[in-house]
Amino acid sequence: MTQLNVVGKSVVRPDAYDKVTGGKHYPVNYSLPGMLHGKLLRSPYPHAKIVAIDTSEAEKLPGVKAVITHADVPQNVFTPVYFVPAHAKSMVQDFVVMSDRVRWAGQPVAAVAATSADVAEAALQLIDVEYEELQPVFDPEEAMKEGAPQLHDNAPNNIAKAPSFSFGDLEAGFAEADHIFEGVYQTQRVHTCYMEPRVCVVDSETDGRITVHSSMQHGFGLREKMAVALGIPESKVNVVKPTYIGGGFGGKLDVGHIEPVAALLSLETGRPVRIEHTRGEDFIATTRNPIKVYLKTGVKNDGAYTARYIKSILDAGAHATHGAEVIMVHGLYGTFFPWKCPNQTWEGFSVYTNNIIGGGYRGYGAPQGCFAVESQNDEICEKLGLDPIEFRSGNTHKEGDPHPVLQGHTLNSYRLDDCLKKGAERIGFDRRAPANSSEGAKKRGIGFACHPLWVSGCLGFPDIYEHSGATVKLNRDGTADVVSSCIDLGSGQITMLTQVVAEELGLASEAVRVVYADTDTAPFDAPTHASRATYSAGLATKAAAVETRNRLFKAASAVMEANPGDLYLEDGKVLVKGAPDSGVPITEITARAESAFVQMTEEGPRLTTIEEKGTIIGSASQAPPSNPSPVAAQFVEVEVDTDTGEVKVLHVVHAADAGRVFHPKAAEGQVEGGFQQGMGYALMEHLQFDQDTGACLSSDFLDYKIPTSMEMPPKIESIFVESNEPTGPYGAKSMSELCLIIPAAAIANAVYNAIGVRVTELPITPERVLRALGKL
């Protein structure tokens, strides 16, 4: 690998200073003079028709400036997901911002803008809505039956989307098998739990243009969806990129109700309007879709797969939105293509119910798939007495294999075997005892799981945007400014962009700043999602920095009277190859480039040249060349209290092939935080709903428990098996989703090893453990 000066080092995050002194740039802090505050009235019924709405009393309340209902909202039907066009053929268009048909408890039916949030809240109580209740359906398999209540006219049996893939001969494959394993694996609805709420401030101009500030993961996606929702041209919407946001994890990857509603309220009042979710509203905004996986696998005595049939039923909730894509990714990358099986069929069903809408969440369909497949893999190894590591190795891809999904692409870097080996060594896998063999009430177990195929972006996915752009400008004081639409969710995108530019321009990372960007002025970028930022935005920013460097060398060649091709950068200087004493500071080149043609000096006028003039700037906008797969294996040790049913995670080793690691500490932080979310998914998190009304009963963190410092294991160890991904920036690919995709499966397998009983439904709560042990 090439010698690098900045990439690969744990440089200080430029945004950290801001964040430890108060963090003034979060969208939640944004405010404008004369700003109104909006609130949404939500339906208490899961399925109903609105017969009438009377807003007259609300409008009379002093301080109320506008009230809107579905009658004031354009009835434009679209897909609210940021990363695809609003009318993408591969998605499902079934969403309007406000409708007279209610499909989930909590659906907004009216909105108020008032001089304070208190007045707006009080006004909601004065809106009189007459509903005609309809029969709801909450279970996706019930919803698929004949005679079930129908949610959308164009979706018979409530099936929003039913993709399937198949190859080989399934029947022959099962006939060839020595053993057939069947199981059903159920996952639950959870929330991303970003800490900063969804919040926006929308202002409008007299010519109908609107400016949007929002805590979200994609400015250009928000611009497009706002334009479609409101029925105005995209150029009338300017979305300002937030300097940073307080977490996203996929939960801010679609236009919610708040931005279009705030826009309509602003257009009506001529004043800026701010809407902020309560935590209870965030919990019902978007969630990870529950998926029930029916899995049947045929294997030979030696563990080789012969056939696999998978049926996945995804609870989309009231609208398809992400559920139309999560089912695809779950099928492609969560269950079907990660494993090498000669005869496979997968059938997926994304099903409407009167539950709340699903959504994006880090891992996007794969945690549900990994939990199913890796639980069953563990069962297979246990039953047949196979070495579980050799079993994984034997049924997965190898470096140099063709990419199983992307035709014409190769798995250039793929070190799953190393991850398995090093992870096993570190945790001491050879000391693992047979299942349920420890003495006493508290039983220990070791388990692991891996995920053999994932993404670095979305190249190859139908309809999904995958290009990035950046502008890099050198300043006269020797610093560089980067304009990029890549949003930092907290995972370090600002730092990554500065590292790339510093590396290419021979600067210290502190000399590079990521500056203001909005959709009016900055090049397009796809969202910060799908593990794509370092790979895709990193490559585009690298290309922009190379342009800048070329421009610098062109100016320097005039100053230094040298061939641009003979120049190189080191320590803030431009040097001529072979003449290490020839250095001219970058600041001198940029100062001359930006100076007047004739400079007055003590010695009199000094002429500069035309060739050296002009801002040293470069830009690029491009799609990445590929979509390399990261891989990882995760080993955990648990202790299960067989009296209380409580599962404690004691030790975690996550071994990952992420290509070149850009920032070791940030990479560890991704693994540690990813494990926390994965452990919450495995053991405790579960949004609860009223069985009759469908209302979400989890309204805050007192009802919805996520791991605190007390539940987290004492040690999460990261091992990076550094490979060189030839298509990536400096050999890098992605890393931040596998660490959350794997934990549920790894923990479930460790729990099995501890108690000898398998829990196939998440979360593995004390109640489920005790039930599995026959104690309840």
């Binding site: 935080g673 963190f701 605190t708």
Partner: protein, 153 residues
């Protein structure tokens, strides 16, 4: 009906009008424009709004503004500025304990109380000390390292 109260925040006394039901968090953010304390849940569940009240960490969303008159409130604005950071702030930077950062201010205030009362806490004491604060990015490991680092300095 609003009432005028005196609020001592970071050794500066402010005279502000508050409703009886206004939380301290609201007074800090919306009246005084002190935005370091964040709203994450408004129900005492996340700790993003943690401030010190006479040196003790409290959830400012669960504390009424009227309750704290004549008491000393300390927020992150009262810790160091970039020119002279508090050791806890510097330790959070050095340990790479700040990801999205939304929880950071609240956790640093919880850590301030912990270190004031126990200058050399072991890992278990640190875990307990920040157990009322949620973080969704870091898994707490680097936050715990940061507090250890601050205690060593």
């Amino acid at each position: 009906m609003k009432q005028i109260i005196q609020l001592d925040v970071n050794d500066e006394v402010h005279e502000i009008a508050v409703q009886p039901y206004d939380s301290l968090l609201r007074a800090l953010r919306e009246t005084l424009g002190l935005n370091a304390s964040k709203r994450g849940c408004d129900s005492g569940g996340c700790g993003c709004c943690t401030v010190l009240l006479d040196g003790k960490a409290v959830y400012s969303c669960m504390t009424m503004a009227m309750q704290v008159k004549d008491r000393k409130v300390t927020t992150v604005e009262g810790l160091g500025k970039v020119a002279g950071l508090d050791p806890i702030q510097q330790a959070f930077i050095d340990a790479d304990a700040v990801q999205c950062g939304y929880c950071t201010c609240g956790i640093m205030m919880a850590a301030k109380q912990l270190l004031a009362e126990n200058p050399n806490p072991d890992e278990d004491a640190i875990r307990k000390g920040i157990s009322g604060n949620l973080c969704r990015c870091t898994g707490y490991q680097k936050i715990i390292e940061a507090i250890q680092l601050a205690s060593e300095r």
